[in-house]
């Protein structure tokens, strides 16, 4: 139990998928202009990452390893994750239209997002057990959401400030992201 907690903390803060591993930067910049979209994106990432992490771990363990075709890992993960997201989208649209309205447009955007793919591969490389894989996927997703929401709130404030013309918009966004990444470095050594 304690190990799992440590794993979660390390995934959220120390190895934050965005700020330490620099995966998933496109939605990080693209959907962080407004808090509203940032929250929607964060939810969608949690949703997809947990499902994808779980499913790919199972595919890896019960299919790839069993059939000894581990070299097909990346390509089969792409296929599985893409199908999963499509399936979930259809399911939500029919069964939970409310949730679909909230997550709908973000789901296809992160189909084969590098963060999603990255977490699935990390889970395998680190040779996590099933429970560990689920916890790590959840924690990484929470870390992603945390960074995104933080970043969006900072960008909303930056919008109100006087920014020199050449630095406006994405430029100042990247500078800000760099500074947040620096602050996240201070978590190193915590675990």
């Amino acid at each position: 139990m304690g190990d799992l907690f440590v794993l979660a903390i390390s995934c959220i803060f120390i190895n934050n998928i965005l700020l330490a591993q620099f995966l998933g930067c496109c939605p990080f910049l693209g959907t962080s202009k407004k808090m509203e979209t940032a929250v929607g994106m964060a939810m969608a990432v949690v949703f997809v990452l947990v499902m994808a992490g779980t499913l790919t771990w199972m595919v890896d363990t019960y299919l790839l390893k069993a059939l000894d075709v581990e070299y097909l890992r990346t390509v089969s993960f792409i296929l599985v994750i893409a199908s999963l997201v499509q399936f979930v989208e259809m399911f939500l649209k029919k069964s939970i239209p409310g949730l679909y309205a909230g997550l709908g447009i973000f789901l296809p955007l992160i189909t084969t997002n590098c963060a999603v793919m990255g977490v699935c591969l990390i889970n395998i490389n680190e040779e996590y057990t099933f429970v560990q894989a689920v916890v790590s996927a959840t924690a990484y997703a929470i870390g992603f959401g945390l960074a995104l929401v933080l970043f969006a709130s900072i960008r909303e404030r930056v919008n109100l400030a006087r920014v020199p013309k050449p630095l406006q918009d994405t430029s100042i966004g990247l500078v800000t992201a760099g500074i947040i990444a620096l602050t996240f470095m201070s978590f190193k050594g915590m675990v």
């Binding site: 979209t37 595919v59 299919l63 059939l67 000894d68 075709v69 070299y71 097909l72 390509v75 089969s76 296929l79 599985v80 893409a82 199908s83 499509q86 399936f87 259809m90 399911f91 649209k93 029919k94 069964s95 447009i105 955007l109 919008n159 109100l160 400030a161 006087r162």
Partner: protein, 696 residues
């Protein structure tokens, strides 16, 4: 190699089968046009259109919320392709446009000084912004930054100016504005907007019962944009020609210039632009929203009915008017004499309303020729009862049915219809309202030698318009004040010979604030007259309620004044699909009141037709004033004389029913428009030393 191929084939097949099965199981119907439209959008998911991704934009286009040109990146070809998918009537979607309500901008005084803040949002967050005005524009241009289409800029006067050609109605500016100054609205929403307590309204616009944006049209007149001025008036008032002639202009009572000197002659300016349109020989096109396919019956073609029909038609409903008289117009045709409102002018104005596609059936009386049952059977989904107030009150004195006695509205309408009425040489008209004055002025034109007005209070308490009283004085009417008729005395042939009245004196003020007249005992006096007309007010004629055999008619409740019982905020009667407006809702009131209530009931009918709850406008101002906008003094004014209304000399008036009041000449109208301070809620243009005033 082979195992890898087999594995990929297998996993691909599984995924494919699962997806195709689930697409069957989880199928949700979607308008096929959404996918087609989406294919023709740029597919960049950039959000530049203001919608969350291309599919959301496509859905908005198909649902009629966005135009085919919604996509920022899409070229002309793409737009045309989308328009084609949506059918030839791609314009069927009612396009919203950005609309700025603040015209004060820099002229509003500052309350605080902010250093270094560059966005309205930040400024609004700290003490609500620099301006004294709580609803005014701060002018830092958050809306301009939010606009992806370059359709907005901060104008020279410090408030945003919208370029309608570039605006796509995406709503980004509205979201960016922290003060609700910039709004993205459709034509229907603008037509159905009512004054609210938080609006940026000049005192005159608060007072106008029709809620016309007076400063805006006067400003347009000043800039020479007469067409636009007429269009501004028509957003609230379908009868500018009639109102420009007969309205007692309550707006002028609240005019800020009027605090220091004579008020701006607002109504003459309205008449000037309205007459300009009529005399220009062509009608200014009136925009209507796309058809909704709903049908409404309007009973009564008076100002209330016409107004309600006009606005319902403009927001896309199909309207038919049913009128008991031979022609439309109601009291303004049959109760207002020719010399105040020529029939030719009225005909022209009403034709313009009918040209919108409104059908009118005249000479049909509700309850006799048709009823609720036949209306429902013909597919009308809502009914407006705007039957007016045509039943004259009687004096309740002995002898008032004698030969030679008439009742005000009855007399006027019989005369208007061309009926030959046997006249005497002298007449007494009882009453002090506009109908009484209309009667005496008509009688004078018919060649009577002596016409009296018998009124139980004094001139100060007369409810008639001041200009009307003055005009009747000029034309030679004789006033008998403080006189209450007690009986009409006949001669040997049974004809009216004398009117007996009691002299009165003024006592304590009554509920209306006017001093109550008290009779003086034994002061009976005789007045030799051959005609007596009583014009002491009217009530609605609700005889249709008993005549219509439809069983639901018994549910229609009337008040003790015979008006149709209704909630004044929504004008819905006791039967949900029946609405009312004008005199039949309130009892006798002004034409402009009827026009205002006609529009209000149009809003309620629209809500009712859409199946939405018919609720009052939130924070509706409805005849109240915004306290902070009512001043006691207006510094910085340079006094200038009010334009005098040109009129025909008295000696030429009495030979015919020719129109007495004339329209202002163009230069006089401009000079009068220059007197307007272009007020808003708090700020206004004083005459001197102010940039906006100078620029104009």
């Amino acid at each position: 190699m082979i195992p890898a191929l087999l594995f990929m084939l297998g996993i691909g097949a599984v995924c494919g089968i699962v997806l195709s099965l689930s697409s069957k199981v989880f199928y949700v119907y979607e308008d096929p046009r959404i996918a087609q439209v989406e294919n023709n959008l740029a597919a960049a998911n950039c959000g530049g259109c203001g919608y969350a991704g291309c599919s959301a934009a496509a859905e908005a286009v198909v649902n009629g919320l966005a135009q085919p040109s919604v996509c920022v990146i899409s070229n002309q070809e793409g737009v045309e392709a989308v328009a084609k998918i949506m059918g030839v009537d791609a314009g069927a979607a009612e396009s919203p446009l950005s609309y700025n309500i603040c015209e004060g901008g820099n002229r509003a005084d500052d309350k605080y000084h902010y250093m270094g803040i560059s966005s309205c949002k930040a400024m609004a967050a700290v003490f609500g912004g620099k301006r004294v005005c709580g609803v005014g524009c701060m002018g830092l241009g958050d809306c301009v930054k939010a606009c992806q289409f370059d359709a907005l800029e901060i104008g020279p006067n410090g408030y945003p100016v919208v370029d309608d050609d570039k605006c796509v109605g995406c709503g980004a500016c509205q979201l960016a504005c922290p003060k609700d100054i910039i709004k993205v609205t459709t034509l229907s929403e603008q037509l159905m907007k009512f004054n609210q307590t938080q609006d940026a309204l000049a005192p005159c616009a608060q007072t106008c019962p029709a809620e016309i944006n007076i400063p805006r049209y006067i400003n347009q007149l000043r800039e020479g944009k007469y067409k636009e001025a007429v269009q501004t008036i028509r957003m609230r008032n379908p009868l500018p020609l009639a109102c420009g002639r007969v309205c007692p202009h309550p707006c002028e009572d609240e005019c800020r210039r009027g605090i220091e000197e004579e008020a701006v002659s607002i109504n003459q300016l309205k008449r000037f632009v309205a007459d300009y349109e009529m005399n220009s020989g062509s009608r200014i096109p009136i925009k209507c929203a796309p058809d909704t396919g709903k049908k409404v019956a309007v009973i009564g073609g008076g100002p209330a009915g016409l107004s309600c029909a006009f606005f319902l038609r403009r927001i896309g409903h199909q309207v038919d008017i049913f009128e008991a008289m031979p022609k439309l117009g109601g009291i303004i045709r049959y109760g207002i004499p020719e010399y105040r409102l020529p029939k030719k002018v009225l005909d022209w104005e009403i034709q313009g309303i009918l040209d919108l596609g409104i059908k009118a059936f005249c000479n049909v009386r509700f309850g006799v020729d048709f009823g609720l049952g036949s209306l429902m059977a013909s597919g009308y989904e809502a009914v407006l009862l705007g039957v007016g107030a045509w039943e004259d009150y009687s004096l309740g004195i002995e002898g008032e049915d004698l030969d030679g006695c008439f009742k005000g509205i009855d007399f006027l309408q019989r005369f208007s219809r061309g009926e030959k009425i046997k006249l005497g040489r002298t007449a007494a008209v009882v009453g002090g309202g506009n109908s009484a004055i209309d009667c005496v002025r008509t009688l004078l034109r018919l060649g009577l030698e002596k016409v009296y007005i018998v009124y139980r209070r004094t001139r100060n308490e007369m409810p008639a318009n001041e200009v009307e009283i003055v005009a009747s004085e000029e034309e030679g009417v004789e006033f008998v004040f403080l006189a209450a008729p007690t009986q009409v005395i006949a001669d040997d042939n049974g004809k009216v010979a004398q009117l007996e009245y009691l002299k009165m004196e003024l006592g304590e003020p009554d509920a209306s604030g006017r001093r109550r007249p008290v009779p003086i005992e034994g002061s009976e006096t005789l007045l030799d007259v051959e005609m007596v007309i009583s014009a002491i007010g009217q009530s609605p004629d609700a005889s249709f309620k008993d005549q219509d055999p439809h069983p639901r008619m018994t549910e229609l409740e009337l008040t003790r004044w015979n008006t149709i019982d209704n909630d004044p905020a929504i004008l819905q009667a006791s039967i949900p699909y029946i609405f009312t407006a004008g005199d039949s809702a309130t009892g006798p009131a002004l034409v402009v009141d009827a026009i205002g209530s006609g529009r209000r009931s149009a809003r309620s009918i629209d809500l009712f037709l859409k199946g939405e709850p018919v609720e009052p406008v939130k924070d509706s101002l409805q005849k109240k004033r915004i306290p902070e906008s009512i001043f006691t003094k207006v510094p910085g004014l340079k006094k200038t004389a009010r334009a005098k209304m040109p009129e025909i000399p008295v000696d030429q008036r009495l030979d015919s029913m020719i129109e007495v009041d004339l329209v202002l000449p163009e230069d006089a109208a401009h000079k009068e428009a220059e007197r307007c301070l272009n007020c808003c809620r708090l700020c206004y243009n004083p005459d001197t030393g102010f940039p906006i005033a100078k620029a104009n």
